[in-house]
Symmetry: C2
Subunit: 448 residues, 2 copies
């Protein structure tokens, strides 16, 4: 018994010390095929499985005005079959080989992935390479999918008041930059998307030189290179991707408020976003400082917002803060508060403002910084231990202006963040004129 | 003396009765040239002068994302000379012929006009037709003009807090539709405009079939036809204009607030815009009802807002309301209040909300309606008596989805507007979730 305890204690100690080092030990191999397709390999042979992902450097922020939702719509249509493989075969092959697969679209990228036994990697590559160029779309399979996407929007957004609020906050946040439109698209525009739109978008953005192949798991870079050359290397690159020119968001000059009154809302909510830099656009350690500040303010029950509003003042049922920095052009810093039943959402917002003002004046403490820093590093260790997560991190990095190495080595910089870094970042970005405050109200009389 | 008085009285009486009829007596001739260019002639031979205008069905709402300000920039560049006429000659010819000219750009159209002795009309046509297709742009004359436009933005917008507020209100009003971007453009985008951008926009939008010629004044339709055929008719149409597809603005679901704190602001201001139909998109008499309601609420010292806030409550230095309906895709209904020195802008907004709520509940009175209706018709008579105004009205109509006839005959419909029309329009559009409220504050502490 005792021995075990000690062992556990030693383990814990070693654990704490070893973490940062361990976190740095992600092996990454990266190379390009002749057709311009980038390849990243993250070997990890604990289990005989691989995660195979193809990322395209295109997302909703690359859609032309009036075609919102097109990037995501095409993601759905990529499963509709090719000249070689009829509709449905893609998913069936994954199933009968015991794999799982899916796809996702964001503002900056569209990604397709499968997790499967490593000896089936070749098949996945054959299928993924095939649909990069041989997609076949007919009105018969496109039009029903449009209904699916519209239903998806209804379920996820139109029937969810808090999702509608976030959408309205984003729309108010960006006056010129395309991040202001929802990835799923405005219903009025989604409803008008056509097969021609999808094919044009496909031809304009899906080509080897605009794609990134990420393979993580039980493979060697050499094995991947051979297979990648065989299946992706043979594809002819159809165009040279141009730099992704999204218009710059003018520096914010006015604080904005969005009030959404929705009878379906269970209770009032206050949510505020500040326009901030992303990891790709930040200077120095700004992004990391905002990331850690978000943890100090609103990640978990030890955070300032939660302790003050929920535990001490008992005016809120929940309170949180976050930083979203994995984007190409900009990020956001957010705070959130849900009042207790009967409590006033205005009170909650005022309390949050007091806490933010205090951070701007007095900064945060070394104790707080150390706490969240250790948390962050510990969490990363678990993340970096997950094959699919590693693949995803690499893909995000390479489609949002970063290198895979930089995202895996983030720990090194986390160690360097100082109290001054955090205070400077807060002073620069936690400024009301950079923000949109969203208020969700269940009843009408309280509006405005 | 006495006789004169009576005469004056009779005149006044006749005047009041004759107005509507008189207002309907605008003679308009309209025809198309073989190349698709539309021509409108409004004869008026009181003075030997003509107003010559060429309108293009393109404005800032037709710019691609990221190129805001391009339509207006091109308007400036249209004076930079052609293959036939060196830079400066256009303005010089107008000067030495005793004329005056200018140009303007809005969201929906770009227009060029000259007012000159009628016997010089041919020269104006020669110059205007020439620059429709023979514009010559060089970096030497484009780049300096870009500085001019940037300075124009600095003067008119960046150095004017209330202009900045309006710009921010528009940006928050439109989540998808291009009316959300300023006609002058975002500085960050204007600064990047190039000669190539301007030439591409010129080639894509400036052609006879996308233009409207309007001539008002001392000419007959026959004379204009002969000249138009000679100067504009010979131009080869370079492309068939496509329908102007701007993405539809989703139905507003959340009220928005914009707070701009600017030390340069003399005093606080409250300004609110509601998304409303335009004359082109309105059903039935909606637009006219909103137009008259705006007059009842906030046009002049007899209006509800002014009487209540400025005269009775003495909390505001100024208060007004307006309706902007001369746009292709949508219009706005606006209210405005500037508190007295020391008074609270929140009080002013609250007082305005009380007045709006009263209109929604009780509507307006027949007396109010008759008053503003007679005012509107009287004002129109003076407008319709102005040659340049007539030409402008015709141009606006034909570039915003209306006919010249419809705009001149608006009086007929004004006569028909009922109290129910006004109440229904108010109930439908004066709704907080359709609105953006802008607050301008001189100092910081009062923010949010």
């Amino acid at each position: 018994m005792r021995a075990v305890k000690i062992a556990a204690l030693q383990l814990a100690l070693i654990f704490l010390i070893v973490l940062p080092v361990h976190a740095l030990n992600v092996e990454v191999a990266s190379f390009k095929l002749a057709n311009g397709m980038q390849v990243v390999v993250i070997p990890n042979n604990r289990a005989p499985v691989v995660t195979h992902m193809v990322w395209y450097r295109v997302g909703s922020a690359d859609e032309v005005s009036g075609k919102s939702g097109l990037a995501h719509f095409l993601e759905h249509l990529m499963f509709k079959g090719t000249t070689k493989h009829p509709p449905g075969e893609f998913d069936r092959f994954i199933d009968i080989n015991g794999g799982e697969g899916n796809a996702f679209t964001t503002r900056d990228y569209t990604a397709y992935f499968q997790r499967i036994a490593s000896d089936r990697l070749a098949l996945m590559m054959e299928l993924e390479a095939d649909r990069m160029q041989n997609l076949v779309l007919t009105d018969e399979n496109v039009l029903p999918e449009l209904s699916v996407v519209r239903e998806e929007r209804r379920e996820r957004t139109d029937n969810d008041p808090s999702a509608l609020l976030s959408e309205q906050i984003d729309a108010a946040m960006y006056t010129a930059h395309p991040y202001g439109k929802p990835v799923i698209g405005w219903m009025s525009e989604v409803a008008k998307l056509t097969r021609e739109d999808a094919m044009a978008f496909y031809r304009a953005h899906y080509t080897p030189a605009n794609a990134v192949l990420v393979v993580a798991g039980d493979v060697t870079p050499e094995q991947v290179k051979v297979l990648a050359e065989k299946y992706y290397g043979v594809l002819k690159n159809t165009f040279t991707p141009e730099p992704r020119l999204r218009t710059a968001e003018p520096d914010p000059i006015a604080s904005r408020r969005v009030t959404l009154v929705d009878a379906r809302a269970a209770s009032p909510v206050m949510q505020r976003s500040y326009l901030a830099p992303s990891y790709a656009t930040a200077n120095g350690r700004e992004a990391l400082a905002l990331d850690l500040l978000a943890d100090i303010l609103g990640n978990g029950t030890q955070s300032r917002l939660y302790k003050t509003l929920v535990v001490d003042q008992k005016i809120a049922a929940h309170a949180a803060a976050w930083y979203s920095g994995d984007q190409l052009d900009s990020g956001t810093f957010g705070v959130y508060g849900a009042p207790n039943p009967g409590a006033d959402v205005g009170k909650v917002e005022a309390a949050i403002d007091v806490i933010l003002a205090d951070v701007l004046t007095n900064g945060v403490t070394q104790k707080e910084l150390d706490r969240v820093r250790n948390q962050a590093i510990a969490e990363r260790v678990y993340t970096l231990d997950n094959q699919a997560a590693l693949a995803r991190m690499a893909g995000v990095a390479l489609t949002t202006g970063l290198s895979a190495r930089s995202i895996f080595d983030r720990d090194i910089d986390i160690e360097k963040v100082t109290l001054d870094d955090i205070r400077q970042a807060a002073e620069k970005y936690i400024v009301l004129k950079r923000s949109v405050t969203g208020i969700l109200l269940p009843e009408t009389q309280t509006q405005n």
